[in-house]
């Protein structure tokens, strides 16, 4: 398989309007991924599927991520004037990443036996029903998994043929995999609570029995 940079270059050649970004992975897996823009996502997906060199005909997995607002501190070497001399000084810089919801697609090629290629789509914010373009029309196997992401994260996939809840019931209004989800308070019987569960179970503890007044009576002498 070509490297991600080569794939990106060929996509921009074929679809000039596509805005692509390579997301590096600093972890031990070192598996960079490709961030697509909403408008050209379907066209890029079709290119990835149909290009004779790539032929990503199998979308094995689609999953969601909930990113909260976060600031990352980085040490950056900056050239500064210190006492009239120009020196390299290490400086802490804070970078702010606004929160968003993300859908991650893992693509493989059955025909050419290569993969995975990781493709990402990001919403503009964490609002309920934030839209993303659906890739179900390119890979049919994404249908149920996009429904699952809609069910658990609340991402609205535009162009999905049948966007309903799949795991939770239709009357359910929450999105349980979001980080700000508050689960129902049914901790009334927790025989061995600890940590978070202990704190929640404490709300249900019966008050200690009222004292019967015997402790106020002084022993007779």
């Amino acid at each position: 398989m070509e490297s991600l940079e080569e794939i990106k270059a060929r996509i921009t050649q074929a679809i000039p309007a596509a805005q692509l970004e390579i997301i590096p992975n600093p972890g031990p897996a070192n598996q960079p991924s490709l961030l697509l823009d909403h408008d050209q996502a379907a066209a890029v997906a079709l290119f990835l599927r149909d290009d004779p060199e790539l032929r990503f005909d199998f979308c094995s997995n689609v999953t969601g991520i909930d990113w909260l607002d976060r600031t990352v501190k980085k040490k950056v070497k900056v050239k500064k004037l210190v006492e009239g001399e120009e020196k390299e000084v290490e400086e802490m810089q804070e970078e702010f990443f606004p929160g968003c919801l993300e859908a991650v697609y893992h693509l493989y090629s059955m025909a050419l036996k290569h993969g995975p290629l990781v493709v990402r789509l990001r919403t503009s914010d964490r609002a309920e029903g934030a839209p993303l373009p659906s890739l179900t029309l390119v890979w049919r196997s994404a249908e149920f998994q996009e429904r699952e992401i809609y069910d658990l994260y609340g991402i609205h996939f535009d162009g999905h043929p049948d966007l309903r809840r799949i795991l939770m019931w239709d009357e359910f209004t929450d999105f349980p995999m979001r980080k700000d989800y508050v689960e129902p308070d049914d901790y009334e019987y927790e025989p061995t609570p600890h940590d978070d569960v202990l704190e929640k179970a404490k709300q249900h503890y019966a008050p200690r029995p009222a004292s019967d007044g015997a402790e106020g009576i002084a022993p007779q002498t």
């Binding site: 795991l167 939770m168 019931w169 239709d170 009357e171 359910f172 209004t173 929450d174 349980p176 989800y181 689960e183 129902p184 049914d186 009334e188 019987y189 927790e190 025989p191 569960v197 179970a201 404490k202 249900h204 503890y205 019966a206 200690r208 029995p209």
Partner: protein, 207 residues
């Protein structure tokens, strides 16, 4: 009633070829040796239940091999596996459709309390929140021997049920319900989250 017959006399009569019994004994003997379970499984515990019914462990030795595909023909509900909140109303409805006398075995950690998924958002914290349970089997999943043990415990319970007099079995009393309300799907959880008439968790006192 069996209490009115002298055991020694009965044994003596039996040696002479006369078998004396009571309606209650005969009735319970028949019931306990042909418990027909409802055929459904929810998770990995169901695989152990299938193994129990198959030739190696052979539930047929206890008269329980006739798994029925309809609740109308079943005596026993083996809740084998994780009960999700989406599945719970259907379980209660199946229980309601079973004719009396009916029994419930809660098989495995999930059916008892939610098990490893207890703190999840979509798993019911024990089927005893909605229907009465006769025998609980711990384990994750319980081995087939444990299910056989539960079966024998249930047989023992059926054998001890009285048809009349004080301590009459619950299913014969007209005032005990044989159906329980089916929970509804709510916006955040099942409504109600437990049947208050049935589910009485022990009060926990801690400082």
């Amino acid at each position: 009633m069996s209490e009115t017959i002298d055991e020694g006399l009965r044994s003596e009569l039996q040696k002479q070829g006369i078998w004396v019994t009571s309606m209650q004994e005969l009735y319970n003997w028949g019931r306990k040796n042909s418990i027909w379970p409802l055929q459904f499984g929810l998770a990995c515990c169901a695989i152990e239940m299938i193994a129990t019914a198959a030739s190696r462990y052979d539930l047929a030795r206890f008269g329980g091999e006739v798994f029925r595909p309809s609740p109308r023909q079943a005596d026993l509900m083996i809740v084998a596996g994780t009960v999700t909140k989406k599945m719970a109303p259907q379980i209660v409805r199946l229980y309601n459709q079973m004719p009396d006398p009916k029994y419930v075995i809660s098989m495995g950690a999930c059916a008892i309390s939610g098990g490893p998924f207890k703190q999840g958002y979509n798993v019911l914290k024990g089927i005893d929140r909605y229907i009465p349970v006769d025998v609980y089997i711990p384990g994750c999943p319980p081995r087939p021997e444990a299910l056989l043990h539960a079966f024998m415990e249930l047989q023992r319970k059926i054998d001890g049920q009285k048809l009349s007099g004080p301590g009459q079995a619950d299913f014969l009393k007209s005032n005990t319900p044989s159906e329980y309300p089916v929970p509804a799907f709510g916006a955040h959880d099942l409504e109600p989250p437990a049947n208050p008439d049935l589910f009485h968790p022990p009060a926990i006192e801690r400082a």
